[in-house]
Amino acid sequence: MSAPMLSVEDLTSGYGDSQVLFGMSFAVAAGEVVTLMGRNGMGKTTTVATVMGLLRPTGGAVRVEGEAVQGQPPYRIAQRGLGLVPEGRQVFPTLTVEENLVATAANRRPGAARWTVDSVVELFPRLGERRRHLGGQLSGGEQQMLAIGRALMTNPKLLILDEATEGLAPIIREEIWGCLGRLKDEGEAILVIDKNVSALLGLADRHYVVEKGRVVWQGDTASFRADAGVIERYLHV
């Protein structure tokens, strides 16, 4: 069996003196859709940031296709095929929509159909109407679309979506779930963090519930549905 696309082992990390992750462990296999769930402030985003090298882990390992990458600068990790849709959009405000898409475009998943500006615009027609507008002038939802498009344009092997549907209209959310489904069918690995649990259940293979910086529950969709207590126990206040 080949190594998983991403595996996180006993990861610890934090901000300055305050530790946030206390031994995170999970894995995403190639072509698999995995979710991280958890209440606000439990460390989901911190996990993503640490995986991407934006935060320096204090312990544990991050492996991409079997190779340890912890401690490497973010661009190295990204170049291995990780595409990030960050929390809070973080589009480049002074670049136009088109520039936002092409500036960091790359081909990190050889063999698959490449994302282009045109195919992104096909997915989000709204962006087509705003092509020459600056990222900072877009509405919140438009920025969110742009952030997704920007990550797709790096043609990643593993797509990481941190609250990527925040602020999107219901109909667009559906588009995205559909698109992720297609990507999954093409063999793309996907890590999703999202509050729309019900939509995720239809899409994802496996789920991890995060609490206080570690995984407290894991299982596939069927066992998630079966274990009604999960939501009560970990996702409610």
Binding site: R126, I171, E174, L235
Partner: protein
Amino acid sequence: MAEPILVLEGLCKAYGALTVTDNLSMAVQAGSIHALIGPNGAGKTTLIGQVSGQIAPDAGRIRFAGRDVTDLPMHARCRRGLARSFQITTILPRFTALENVAVAAQAHDGHSFRFLRPAAAEARLNDAAMQALETVGLGDRAAIRAGALSHGEKRQLEIAIALVMKPTLLLLDEPMAGTGHEESERLVATLEALRGSLTILLVEHDMDAVFALADRISVLVYGRVIAEGAPDEIRADPEVRSAYLGEEGAP
């Protein structure tokens, strides 16, 4: 029926060739929860911006509580009881969560040209702030630097700031966005509890929340209100379904 608390008449706003608010008129009844929904980029945030005074409309009038406030700056409108939250989190990152809320309380508690007394020791401000934080579930995070809160917590803080001002009209721009499932539920409960004591204009893409809370819904598309009515009417409207709701609207 009494005059609506907020009346928009012929509001227009364009950015270059892009018309974002297109001769828009609408009214919000005092004491109601009025939801404003619509596709991304329809002009909801821009409308909130114009009502709150952040963005100047190109044409049209805004009446709030019986007075024309079109030419008042944002801070003056706020002092008349009009508060808002921001879709894109707007907080004071190096202030603690408590201070973020306390400074908002301060704005509505006498004047701030006081140069010598330490503000941090003013119990009245801190108490009000603490109460607001507890309402949104951030009570145990009061002493944390706001910049170090998680995204969802920042969203909650945003609401606490708006609440502490005890506004008569509260403009909420996607308050549920970024908050987790259960935090959203808590917020719905909070707003439900406020029903009647103030007016809320709610912009939100979370349809569960909208249908649970709204007395009335306006649907904005390309800067125009294409439909307005009670939740059930809107849910059933085919045009709204195709432009915005998709499957999610299905009963």
